[in-house]
Amino acid sequence: MSNHVLNQPILYTQKLTAFYGDFQALFGIEFHLNIGETVAIIGSNGAGKTTFLRSITGLLCNEPSSVKFSGQPIGASSPDEIVKLGIAMVPEGRQLFPSLSVEENLRMGSLSGRSGQWDLRNIYELFPVLKERRHHGSMDLSGGQQQMVAIGRALMANPSILLCDEISLGLAPIIIKDIYRALPAICSEGVTVVVVEQDIRQAMAVSDRVYCFQEGRISLEGRPDELTTEAITHAYFGLEDAVS
């Protein structure tokens, strides 16, 4: 999709596992990410996609060497350190700060102190509607606008890797299109993007590479054009055919 994909992993995971108490959610995930590419992660509910992103951002603790960023082990680093290295996330369910205004929400993103081309002005250029509503409470916005704030907030950290968890969740198709239209603009700024998506078609359309998760394991990996519908549905549901 993007032109500046270098075949050089900026981030990779090795034997990554994750637990919630006694419950194991991830089993030895081997994943990599090349500079400048857009990768999609698909998988059914509860497959472990969110858990995987949480492990990368440090919200879940791991072995130090299970996640490496630019060769540096960050598996055991804390989330704030990881953001400062340049990995930002748009969390599942948007997770805006309800008692903050739109602009304050965006400013929260810049607290990591990384400099770069993303600032309030650029964000407002990317999503002009936010500028109009910048002094409103973030909960007064529509779902799509909230999603824009969430993306803008992550971009304010000027990340080199942007992780997006189900940014189309609960949004009308029209708005989803709007949001995905912004992605190329983001990528062209040299940001590596990971999207987690349940909408397979959407995921295939925007990505250079696809991982499919199933029950805490990677069940399929490949370029969108290499993957057949059958393979995907199988990997996705463990079923031969989803819809006849």
Binding site: N45, G143, E215
Partner: protein, 237 residues
């Protein structure tokens, strides 16, 4: 048997149930489709009383249950499984079921023992009977949700996404179980993204979006309707 009349529910500015009307006849099996966040689980919460409706009316077997406490509704015969499993982690699987058997189905302890044994057997959880529910895997937890709901001997069974992540064989088995429950006369409402599993069981379908009912009818017709194609594009390639 179940009737929702103009039910509304909002969280702040977010409308999750928008003038929802619905009728389910006794012995019917209804499937519910809709994108994430459409308000499907919320509809269940309204029916079971976990969430109180802002306005509107919910009837069960002709009785107004809108303001009834969840435990009363359960004893009237409303059983449900949670989309996010809520096991009683410090109890064994068997004891989890007993709670439903003793309090929901209002059986004596002895009666509940045998009833729950049967449910365990039917849902394939028998080998796990003495395991603490907290240590189950996700799939087992979902199965426990189903089993626990069954233990309350419900007249109306509400199932929230219990087929996700199953293998083909497991899914077929699940479909078999649910069919059997249905054949015994239990009314079923089933939320499911795994459409073909749903289609194997239900008599009719509704589609929710933004808390509204956008389509309703015979499964084939609904699946081919324009609304579904447009809104529910999930996996239709």
């Amino acid at each position: 048997m179940l009737e929702l009349q103009h039910v509304n529910k909002r969280y702040g500015s977010l409308k999750v149930s928008d003038d929802l009307c619905l009728k389910v006849a006794e012995g019917h099996a209804l499937g519910v489709l809709g994108p994430n966040g459409a308000g499907k689980s919320t509809m269940f919460n309204l029916i079971t009383g976990d969430v109180k409706a802002d306005s509107g009316c919910i009837l069960f077997n002709g009785q107004d249950i809108t303001r009834l406490a969840p435990n009363k509704r359960c004893r009237l015969g409303v059983g449900r499984s949670y989309q996010i499993p809520h096991p009683f982690s410090n109890m064994t699987v068997f004891e989890n079921l007993l709670v439903g058997g003793i309090f929901g189905a209002e059986q004596s302890e002895k009666q509940a023992y045998s009833a729950c044994y049967q449910v365990l057997d039917e849902t394939g959880l028998l080998p796990k009977a003495n395991v603490l529910a907290g240590s189950l895997t996700l799939l087992e937890r979902k199965r426990l949700e189903l089993a626990r709901a069954l233990a309350t001997s419900p007249k109306l069974l509400l199932l929230d996404e219990i087929a996700g992540g199953l293998t083909d064989a497991e899914c077929q088995q699940l479909i078999g179980t649910i069919k059997k429950i249905h054949d015994n006369g239990t009314t079923i409402v089933w939320i499911e993204h795994v459409v073909n599993a749903l289609l194997a069981v239900v008599d009719s379908l509704i589609v929710l979006d933004f808390g509204q009912k956008v389509a309703e009818g015979e499964p084939g017709a609904v699946m081919n309707s324009r609304e579904v194609k447009e809104i529910y594009m999930g996996i239709s390639t």
